[in-house]
Amino acid sequence: MEVNLQKRLGEFSLDVAFETEDRGITALFGRSGAGKTTLVNMLAGLLCPDSGVLRIGGQILFDSAARINIKPERRRVGYVFQEGRLFPHLSVKSNLYYGRRFAPKGERYVDGEQIIELLGLGNLLSRRPATLSGGEKQRVAIGRALLSEPHLLLMDEPLAALDAARKSEIMRHIERLRDEVGVPIIYVSHSLDEVTRLADHMVVLADGGVIAIGSAVDIMSRPDLSPHTGRHEAGALIETRVDGHDSFGLTALAFPGGVLRVSGLDLPDGTAVRARIRARDVAIATAPPHNLSILNVFEGRVVEMIANGPAAMDLQLDIGVKLWARITARSAHELGLVPGRQVYALIKSVAIDRHSLGLAMPPNRD
């Protein structure tokens, strides 16, 4: 899809241009007020841009020069709202199938039964929205948007109103949808946990503009974006594969720099997993450490050193993949660290919890 849209709303002005693939999950990431919802509303046709072009798949939905502005009901863009927005006077089943009758018969690719099964909605069908829990409401909202046979699915912070347990549950469902239904998803979020777990691509918005675009792995490993991704969350994202489980309840994740051991994951060998390693969870040693509780020790080199405030130092390390470590300036001085120096990166297994791990999309699955 191609996005090039401009809009002024009072003091706020939005000017974004980017292209992404029409597959997988693209995270639209940024702080609140960055313009995420404004942009998504323009994609859905609920807000008219001042100028620009919007193309999704082969279809032009908006083109100010050609005076094209497809109405929302003709865009085939599904929208999962933050607050669900279920129709209170209709049953769950009627909510789910509301949009189906409007989709041209020849273009139906979504199997209603399959979606209901995937989202675990089977025993909710006769209920009314008022009787559903927050997590159930969001699952119905996702199902309703999918059953309208969209060419693109927009999700605007669909987990914002949920507690941690519900969030994790819904994310599991979204992962399955991504892998089994194959509809491209734009996922709006300001949570790195959600993006780590779900997104393949990332578009970072700030003050109404795009400041970075690329694969989630690349974007999340860029320290210059940490003011936008969260100061204490800065770190690297590495791609791994499940490589066995040990009798101590740990799972081995193989990556080009070695094997990362994390708390047990209930996943079969070979499963692609993204692991986010925060810079503050990485410690540095200049000699091979002995008699240490830390299992994850990787040999590498210092690539770059960036002062982070007066007392902290961010080190970019090359351990086969890119890794970031945040240590005190004092430690860096006492260890005599300089770019090119050989070091050992130490990562506590327990620092990498379930929130830091995401199931990557199987490559090129159509």
Binding site: G45, E73, P88, H89, P129
Partner: protein, 230 residues
């Protein structure tokens, strides 16, 4: 036992018929006007709002007289209706229904407009993204969510129409069996010697009917609200 006299049942049936038809014909118009006032910003919005509320603030006799001037056989609209369609509403029960409808219109529009304003526009937008055209959104989302307000408006209009007196007697007079509604019959009885007991009976009847209407609409509205949920 409280047996109805022929005169009483005639007046009651006539009043019910007039109230029912006035409510029914004004309902679609009231929904359309409420929608215009609540959802559209247009030139003349305030004027339309004022016009709709006029019957509420004008003496009913004045409204009746205006109707007579407009819809009477020689009136601007009335003459046209008579020449082209051979229809005349002046001095018929249909005219009484028109008078009731006009008098009850502001109440109906207010109730429906309130309920429309409480319908979440975001739900309507969600329906658009699911593929529904604006008209379809109105039929499947807005209208069902407005039902409590529509019921309230309809009941208010019915009760107002049932009791309409001033505009009715001015516009369609007091013709037994045609325009002598319950309140007009009651008034007539108070004008003749020895009519007090008959007037009292009609008074009790009108109170009973009004209470019934209120009760039924309240039950209906409650059921609908329970269905719609929170």
């Amino acid at each position: 036992m409280f047996a109805l006299t022929a005169l009483e049942s005639e007046a009651i049936l006539l009043s019910l018929r007039i109230a029912f038809w006035s409510m029914l014909i004004s309902l679609p118009v009231a929904i359309a006007v409420a929608w215009l006032l609540a959802r559209k910003r247009f030139y003349g919005n305030a004027l339309l709002n004022g016009l709709v509320h006029l019957p509420l603030v004008m003496p009913p006799v004045v409204v009746g007289y205006i109707l007579l001037l407009l819809l009477g056989r020689n009136g601007a609209l009335g003459a046209w209706l008579w020449d082209w369609f051979g229809i005349s509403v002046a001095f018929t029960w249909r005219g009484a229904a028109v008078a009731s409808a006009v008098m009850a219109f502001p109440l109906m529009v207010r109730a429906i407009r309130l309920s429309l304003e409480s319908v979440d526009v975001r739900l309507e937008l969600a329906a658009r993204t699911l593929g529904a055209s604006p008209i379809w959104v109105f039929i499947t989302i807005s209208l069902p969510l407005m039902v409590p307000g529509i019921l309230t408006g309809a009941m208010l209009a019915f009760a107002r129409g049932f009791g309409e007196f001033g505009a009715t007697i001015t516009f369609v007079s007091n013709i037994p069996g045609e325009t002598r509604t319950l309140p007009i019959a009651l008034y007539s009885m108070t004008q003749v010697p020895g009519g007090e007991s008959g007037a009292l009976r009609l008074l009790i009847l009108s109170v009973i009917i009004a209470m019934l209407a209120l009760f039924i609409s309240e039950i209906l509205a409650r059921r609908v609200r329970a269905r719609i949920g929170g």
